[in-house]
């Protein structure tokens, strides 16, 4: 397991047909007696085979809801999902629950944030891996077991034969996350969604997992949607980055472009507020003022306006559109801002 540091033939990949096209995805939660809450609105993006797309943003900006909506895993009641999520020509959002079940785990798989709570505490790891194969590949439990062992081995779990029989609590945090990844990869899905897969882990473990994910994606041409709030993780892993704020994409760019020249004040603010290991010490951080609690409703304004140092009058009255802007060599750059940061930095 040796990670190489550069990616090759990216151009070839990105030019292929998109594997997943998310179009205008909106999710609204309705609770009795309260205003409907638009957790996600008008989110669109494409994922190419072999590509890693990042969704970043602060807590509550709708990252998880987006991914759950694509997977059809939102709670059964209390929400409306509109838009499309076309996966290889079929709109996942229009599938019946039964059809969706057939796809989940086989074509699209997902890894969650907390590896302990995401594993069933009373079922052995092996069983939790084999059950996916039994379900989607029609294997018997016996047949699936050697494959499960291989899988565990592949994700770097030592002594897989013994681990198969063990329970989640007997594994360390990193091993649990590996086991979850093994489950997700069991049927060689073409799209993998990872929802903050390393947030609950220590840095040293995080590095292990990220390396693993990187290698897996590269080796198998799997597309990855990487959800995180850690810009550092995105910087090392993603090809294309979407920044979310208040349920909408506010900026999209190739990772190099984004980090080198953030155009949205929010993205810029985020980058400026993170202390960096590689920068000079002692300078004051430039935080984004206020908190998410100050957001405006998107319909008549830019939600970020109250916290924005660049805000102009229009920001409080009209909703900015997500528009293509200059730059973006390989991936088109999109931006939702009335008064973006000028392009130098």
């Amino acid at each position: 397991m040796t990670a190489t540091t550069t990616r090759t033939s990216r151009d070839a990949r990105t030019s292929r047909e998109p594997l997943l096209q998310v179009r205008d995805l909106s999710v609204t939660f309705r609770r009795s007696g309260e205003e409907p809450f638009h957790a996600v609105s008008g989110v669109s993006f494409d994922v190419q085979p072999g590509q890693t797309v990042g969704l970043v943003g602060e807590s509550g900006c709708g990252k998880s809801v987006t991914s759950l909506a694509i997977m059809g895993l939102l709670p059964k009641r209390g929400n409306t999902v509109t838009g499309e999520a076309v996966f290889e020509g079929t709109d996942l959002l229009k599938l019946s629950p039964k059809q969706m079940r057939d796809r989940r785990g086989r074509d699209v798989a997902m890894i969650f944030q907390d590896p302990l709570s995401s594993l069933n505490p009373v079922v052995p790891i092996g069983r939790q891996v084999t059950e996916v194969m039994e379900r989607h590949q029609g294997l018997s439990r016996k047949e699936a077991e050697p494959k499960a062992r291989e899988l565990l081995d592949k994700v770097g779990i030592p002594d897989p034969s013994r681990r198969l029989k063990e329970y989640p609590h007997q594994l360390s945090g990193g091993m649990r996350q590996r086991a979850l990844i093994a489950m997700a990869l069991a049927c060689a899905p073409r799209l993998l969604i990872a929802d903050e897969p390393t947030t609950a882990l220590d840095v040293t473990i995080q590095a292990q997992i990220l390396t693993l994910l990187k290698d897996l994606v590269q080796d198998s041409d799997t597309a990855l949607i990487m959800i995180t709030h850690d810009l550092g993780v995105v910087a090392g892993l993603c090809d294309e980055v979407n920044v979310l704020y208040g349920g909408r994409i506010v900026e999209r760019a190739d990772r190099h472009d984004l980090f080198a020249r953030p155009r949205h004040p929010y993205t810029h603010g985020l980058l400026a507020s993170i202390p960096r290991l590689d920068s000079a010490r002692g300078e004051r951080l430039n935080p984004v003022p206020g908190s998410v609690a100050d957001n405006l409703p998107w319909d008549h304004a830019c939600a970020f306006a109250p916290r924005c140092s660049n805000a102009v009058e229009a920001c409080r009255t009209t909703q900015p559109e997500l528009e293509r802007i200059e730059g973006g060599v390989e991936t088109p750059r999109l931006l939702r801002c009335h008064n973006p940061i000028s392009e130098e930095a």
Binding site: M71, L73, M100, R101, D102, R103, R104, G105, R106, A109, M110, F112, D114, S117, S118, L119, N120, P121, V122, V123, P124, R127, E131, V132, R135, H136, Y167, H169, Q170, L180, M183, A184, A186
Partner: protein, 324 residues
């Protein structure tokens, strides 16, 4: 644990002896007079200092001798009565628990799945009623309709006029063992009404805990993981939801097992069912100290044992406990 039992026995012992009346008066009878009473107390050693009596009691108790009953079945060894009646109460309790569990778990699951629906509302309310109706009243009503009015079940007792060989004193089991099918069936018929009555309380608990546990588990990340794996709903229900939801249910079943004896006092009294609950009720009215000491200590011990069993079961179904 042993400490708790000792403390309990001492408290009980001293308290019982500090009260007026008691076994000496019971033996002395209606024609009693103070002189005769004193004589009887002397004969029985009831005039010794309480602590001496207690030590004697402990000495005998260690050998399994809890004295002689004076109220429940005067003259018989309390232990003998206990051993004889224990199967009756176990039979009753187990059947009640089976009913409670068989009804409580599926209904609890369904109610959780259809949270807020009509089924949920109905079952929830009826389970609350299970606690709100005094057990003995339930017993009266059930008996009145099913036994007295409609003659579907016998009125009282464990068995009717039927030839039956006693092997284990578990009547149903005995009937099956000796192939006296009609005796087994008859014993079972006698069990049904009391068991249903007794089941109302554990049912309500099992139902509510199942419902709450299933609701909790449905919200767990691993269920979402299972969904994300595209598993069939049957597998998700069985392997991922129920197996985890059963953990608190097992606890509550254990707890309720202990509490069943309480309910049995009332139920057995109404149904004239000669078990421990009936013995307890009569030991109280008959001031049968020996029987009371034995039964109350046994109730506490049972509680402890049942809890141990629950722990063991728990360890069996929850690997987190097992491999610690």
């Amino acid at each position: 644990m042993v400490g708790v039992m000792l403390l309990l026995s001492l408290l009980l012992f001293v308290w019982l002896r500090s009260l007026p009346g008691g076994p000496a008066s019971a033996i002395c009878g209606d024609r009693c007079n103070p002189a005769k009473l004193a004589q009887i107390k002397k004969t029985l050693g009831l005039d010794d200092p309480v602590i001496v009596q207690y030590l004697n009691f402990l000495k005998r108790a260690v050998t399994g001798d809890f004295g002689v009953s004076t109220g429940v079945q005067p003259g018989r060894s309390s232990m003998e009565i206990f051993v004889e009646r224990l199967p009756a109460t176990i039979e009753l309790g187990v059947l009640a628990m089976i009913i409670a569990v068989a009804a409580g778990i599926p209904l609890g699951y369904l109610a959780a799945r259809r949270r807020g629906g009509i089924l949920d509302g109905l079952t929830l309310t009826s389970s609350l009623l299970g606690v709100a109706i005094p057990v003995f009243f339930t017993a009266f009503v059930l008996k009145y309709f099913f036994a007295v009015d409609w003659h579907l079940f016998p009125i009282s007792g464990r068995q009717g006029d039927i030839e039956a060989t006693r092997v284990t004193n578990f009547f149903v089991l005995d009937g099956l063992l000796t192939r006296e099918w009609d005796a087994a069936w008859d014993a079972l018929r006698h069990l049904i009404l009391p068991a249903v009555t007794l089941a109302t309380i554990p049912f309500s608990f099992v139902f509510r805990i199942t419902r709450a546990a299933v609701l909790d588990v449905l919200d767990e990340d691993y269920v979402r993981t299972a969904e994300a794996k595209g598993l069939s709903s049957k597998v998700i229900t069985r392997r991922h939801v129920l197996r985890n939801a059963m953990l608190p249910v097992v606890t509550i079943i254990g707890l309720q097992m202990g509490a069943l004896l309480g309910g049995a006092i009332l139920t057995e009294t109404v149904f004239g069912f000669p078990g421990l609950g009936d013995a307890l009720a009569r030991a109280f009215t008959g001031r049968d100290y020996s029987m009371l000491q034995l039964l109350i200590l046994m109730a506490a011990a049972t509680y402890v044992v049942v809890n141990l069993l629950v722990d063991i079961t728990y360890a069996y179904i929850d690997p987190r406990v097992r491999t610690r």
